[in-house]
Symmetry: C2
Amino acid sequence: MNPDIVKERKNATFDVEKLTFILDGGPEKTRRRREIESLVFSDPDFKEEDPNFLSRSERYDQAVRKSAQMILKLREYGIADPEEIYHYKSMVKGNIPEPLDLHLGMFLPTLLNQATPEQMDRFFMPAWTLKIIGTYAQTEMGHGTHLRGLETTATYDPATQEFVLNSPTVSSIKWWPGGLGKTSNHAIVLAQLYTLGNCHGLHAFIVPIRDMNTHLPLPGIVVGDIGPKFGFNEVDNGFLKLENVRIPRENMLMKYAKVEPDGTYVKPPSTKLTYGTMVFIRSMIVAESARALAKSSTIAIRYSAVRHQSEIRPGEPEPQILDYQTQQYKLFPLLATAYAFTFVGQYMRQTYHRITEDINQGDFSEMPELHALSAGLKAFTSWEATSAIEVCRMSCGGHGYSRSSALPDIYVEFTPTCTYEGENTVMMLQTARYLVKSYKQAKAGQQLSGIVSYLNEADVRRVQPQPVAARPTVVDINDLTSLTEVYKLRAAILVELAAKSIQQELQRRKSQEDAWNNSAIDLVRASNAHCHYVVVKLFTDKLGEVADTAVHSVLSTLALLYTLYGITKNSGDFLQVSKIIIVPQVMQISSRIKELLAQLRPNAVALADAFDIHDKKLNSVLGRYDGNVYEHMFEWARKSPLNATEVHESFHKYLKPLRSKL
Amino acid sequence: MNPDIVKERKNATFDVEKLTFILDGGPEKTRRRREIESLVFSDPDFKEEDPNFLSRSERYDQAVRKSAQMILKLREYGIADPEEIYHYKSMVKGNIPEPLDLHLGMFLPTLLNQATPEQMDRFFMPAWTLKIIGTYAQTEMGHGTHLRGLETTATYDPATQEFVLNSPTVSSIKWWPGGLGKTSNHAIVLAQLYTLGNCHGLHAFIVPIRDMNTHLPLPGIVVGDIGPKFGFNEVDNGFLKLENVRIPRENMLMKYAKVEPDGTYVKPPSTKLTYGTMVFIRSMIVAESARALAKSSTIAIRYSAVRHQSEIRPGEPEPQILDYQTQQYKLFPLLATAYAFTFVGQYMRQTYHRITEDINQGDFSEMPELHALSAGLKAFTSWEATSAIEVCRMSCGGHGYSRSSALPDIYVEFTPTCTYEGENTVMMLQTARYLVKSYKQAKAGQQLSGIVSYLNEADVRRVQPQPVAARPTVVDINDLTSLTEVYKLRAAILVELAAKSIQQELQRRKSQEDAWNNSAIDLVRASNAHCHYVVVKLFTDKLGEVADTAVHSVLSTLALLYTLYGITKNSGDFLQVSKIIIVPQVMQISSRIKELLAQLRPNAVALADAFDIHDKKLNSVLGRYDGNVYEHMFEWARKSPLNATEVHESFHKYLKPLRSKL
C-alpha cells in the first residue's frame, strides 16, 4: 500500500462503510452486491486479455465468449433480479457494452410487452435459450430522433398473407443497432406499415435475418458491421438493408395493433403503452452518469493523492497534486456531482416504480411530469458527466491519456448516452415543452402541483425583477434550503423568459412552430435551470435521511460545494435574471468555495473510496486502491503487443533500406 | 453534388476564394499550398489503407512506411521551408502524429542548437540521412511539468572519461517520448548531471539505445512501447530504463555547459537560450487549435446542411438541421472561434519572428511578454478547441461517433495539446505570474507598455466598482471597439482581484507560496480573461486589414458573434466584476446573438469552405465537399474488417454450442 494513500485514509473524519451503505441503499444491498461481484472475481472462466491489446475482431470474439459464459452462469446461479444481474454483468464487463445487450435488453422485453401468446410460443423460448438471437432495428442511416421520418416499409400482401419489407433508399438502411452486424439471426424491425393502400405509421415486425444453422444472411438481406467507432469496440453495431424480404403476417407484433388476413388494419387501444420503457431507460442513464463520474473521480482523486509534482514551497519535497487549489477546484465539485447524481438516480428509480404502480392502477396523472423530468435529467446529467470525465482525465496529466488509466474507455463508452435514447438537445426541448405548458396553465389560474409548482403565479410574481435597493438580501449562502430556493427562482424566471420569447415571436406574426424554434436557446436554458434546481433539491432532501453525524457532516459539505459551485459557474444567470444574488455575495461565495475545498481535502480519498468500486471493475492503473501506480503501469506497458518482439519488422522493411537512398 | 449543399453555396454573400487568401496569408500562399498538397494527392506511393481498419502494429507499420516515403520525396522535391514541409506532411498524414516526428522536430533541432562542431560531425549528418534516428527523452513516469523533479542521473566518471546514466527508481523511467519505443536508435536524454560529487541540474546527453545494425537494445537499456493510448496509435511513445549505461564524455551536448575531462563543470553563459523553442512550439499550438477547430466545424456544418431531421412545421418535409436555432447556437460560435484562433495564430507567428529578430540583435525586452502570452494562449485556445471539437462531434448525432466522421480522431489527436508542452493550468499560472508582476509594477508607479498596459494605475482606477446609478451606460453592443474595451476592463479587474487575494492571504500571515496557491483559482481566472481579451482584440484588429467589402462584412458579423457570445457565456464576470455591462444589456445581447445566427445562416457553408481543407485531408464521410454522405458511409462500412467474412468465427465457437447448454 502506498504510504500517501494510507495517510489519506487515516485522515478521514467519517466511517467509509456507512456512506457506502447509503449509496447502495442499505447494508444488505452492499453485502449482496459484494457477494455477487465476488462470484465473478473468483471465476476462472472470466479470465481475459486486456481488450486494449486486442484487435477489434479479437475484442468482439472475447466479448461473445464472455457473454455466452455469463448467460450460462446467471442461469446456473439463478440470478434473476435485474439489479443483481446488473452487478454481475458490470463485474464481468466493467460496464463495457457487449454484443448481446440488445438481445437481453430490448429483444426479449419487446416480445414480453408486444407479442401475442402465439408469438410468445414461437419466439420467446427459442430466444430465451439463445437459439434465436435478436436485436431491435429502429434507427436508419438518415433518421434517428424523429421516428416518423423512418423510411423502411412493410407492405402487406393479402394474396400470400405476408409483409414485404424494403429499404427503399440508402438513407433508409437500418444503421447502429447493437448486435445486428454479426451476432443476431433475428431483428425486430420498425417499419412504416402499408396495407390496402394506406400507411398506418410505424409498427414492429420480427424479421429472420440469418439462417439458424449456417448463420448466413437470408435472401434479400444485406447485413454487416457499420465499422469502427469512438468506442463500443466489442459491439457489432450493424446495418440492415431489406430487399423485398417476405415474412408471414403473424410476424408483425400484434398484441395491440393488428393486420387481419384480408389486410384490414386494427388500431391499438392506446398509444401511451410504450411510454414507460423510454422513461425507464432515461432514468437508468441518470444512474449511469453517476457511475461513470464516480469511477472517473475515484481514479483522478486517488492518483492525485499519490502523485507528487512541482513545488509549492521552494526546497521542500514535491507536494501531492491534491494539495494544489486548482486541482481541488477541478475535482471536488465533480466528486460532489457524482454524489448528487447518485441520489438523483435513486430518486428516479423510486419514482419510476411508484408511478408505474399508479399506472397499473389506472392513474396516469403523474406520467407527464415523470416523462419531462426523465428527459431533462437524462440530458442534464449525461452532458455534465461527459465533460466531467474529460476534466478528470486531463487532471491526471499525460497518464490520463494512456489506456491503462481506463479514463479514455470510460469516456468513449459513456459519451454516446448524450445522443442515444433521445438526443440531449431534443430532450431538453421536450422538458421545456412541459415547463412552458405548466407555466401557461399557472398563468391561466390553474394551481400546479408536483415539482413545477414553483411556476404558480404567486411564486413567479414574487421574483419579478425589482430595483436592487428595494430588496433586502435574504439568501444565506451557508443554508441549503435558502440556496435551493434561489435555484428555484432562477428556474422560474428562465421559464418565464422563454415563454415570453415565444410570445414576442408570435406577436411578430410568426407561426407557433417558428416562434418555438426562434426561442429554442431560451427554452434549453430554462430546462437546464429546472434540472439544476431538481438536482440541488434532491441532494438537499437526501441529507434529511442521513442519521450518522460524521457522514451527514461531510455530505452536507459536498452538497454545499455542489450548490455554490453551480452558482459561481452560472453567476450571470443568478445576477442577471433573478437578482436574488447580488454581487458581493458572488464574491463571498467564491471565498466560501475555497474554504469548502480545504475542508473536503482530508476526506477526498475516503469519499472516493465510499463508492466502493472494485479494482477489477475500475480496471485503472491510476485508480488502484493500493495507490501503487507506477510499478503497475510499467508492468502493463511491457505487455503491449508492440513489445512482443524487440525489433518491429518495419525496421527491416523501411528504415534500414532508407539509409542507402538518402 | 448534393443539391442542399449546392443551394448553400449559391446563397453565400461573399467570394470564398478571397477569404481563403486571407486565411492563408495571401493568394500566392494559397497557390503554393495547393500545389504542394496536389503533389501528395496524385502520388500513388501514398496510397494507404484506412488506419481505422488496421491493428495497432499495422498502423505503426504503415506510418513508418509513409514517413520513410515522405522524407525521400521531400528531399527529392527540395521542399525545405518549414511551412511547406508542414503542408506536405499534413497532406500525407492528415495531421496524424507519426513515429519520426521527434526525430525531425526535436532531435535534429536540438543538435543544431546545442551540439558542438565535433558533435555535429559525429551526429548531425548520420541523423539527417536517417542512419541515426533519435528522440528527445525528457519526461519520466513520475515527472512531467516540473523539470527539476526529474530523477535520471548522469554521473561523470573521470577514470574512464565517461558518463554513467541510471534510472534509479521506477518513477524515473523515461516515459512518453514519441518514437522511443521501437523506432529510435538514439535518444537525447535529459538527466541530472553529477560530477566531482556535485549535482549541476539538468543537462542533455546523446545516448545510443539500439544497435545500428541489428536494432536490438544495447546492454543496460530497457526500452519499449508504453502501450495503447486514447489516440496517437501510429506513434511508439516509449519507455527507457537506463542501467549503468556508459557514454563517452563527448556525448554530453556541450555547446554551452561543459564538463572538462577532469570532471570540472563549466556553466553555460546564459539560461535564456532554450526559452525560444518553447515559445515557438506553444505558438504553433495556437495555430493547431485553429486548424483542429476549422476541421471539426467544417465537418459539422456541411453535414448539418445535408442532414434533415424532425420537423419545425408539421406536415412539411424535415428541415436541414442547420435551420434549428439550437444547432446554429452550437456551431456558429465555434466557427467564429476557428476564425479568431486562426488570426491569433497568424499574430503569434509574426510576433515570434519579430521578437526573435530583436533577440538576435540583443534586445530581450519583449521576451517576457511573449513568453507569458504564448503560455496563456496555448492553454486558452487548446482548452477551447478540445471541448469545441466534442460539441461538433455531438452535433452530428450518432454518426459523429463513427470513425468515418473523422471527429473522434480529430479529438484524440488534438486533446493531448492541453497537457504536453506545458500543462494548461500550469501555463495559465505562468501567465498570471506575469500579469500580477505587471500589476504590481503599475501600482508602484511604473508605466507599462505592450499588451498589459491596461494595468496602468490610471486605467484600473477608472473601472473601480461604483454604484450602478453613478455610471452611464457607455457600451455599444454593436461596436467591436467598445466591446474590446469591455473585455479589457474585465481582465484588468480580475487581475486586480487575484492580486488582492494574494495580498489578503499574506495579511493572514501565509507565506508567499501558500498565498499564491490559495489564490490559484483567481489567478487562472484572471489569465483566462486576459487571453480572452487578447483574442477579441486581435480578431477586431484583423478586420482593419480586410479590404473586400463582402468579406469584411461577414467577418465582422463573425467577430461580433464571437465577442457577444463570450459575454453571455461569462456574463457573471461582466456583471459582477466590471459592472460595465448591466442586466438589460445582457438581455439585449442574447437577442442580438439570435439575429447574428440568422444573419450568418446563409454563409455558414461558405465560411467552412473558405478554410479550404481538402477532402483527402479532412478524411470525413460527413464533411465531404460534395455532401454525398450516406452513399459513402455505406461504402466505408462495408470495408470494415468484421465484414471480411459473412459469419464471424465466434458463432461457431461460442453461440452455436451455447444452444445445447441452455
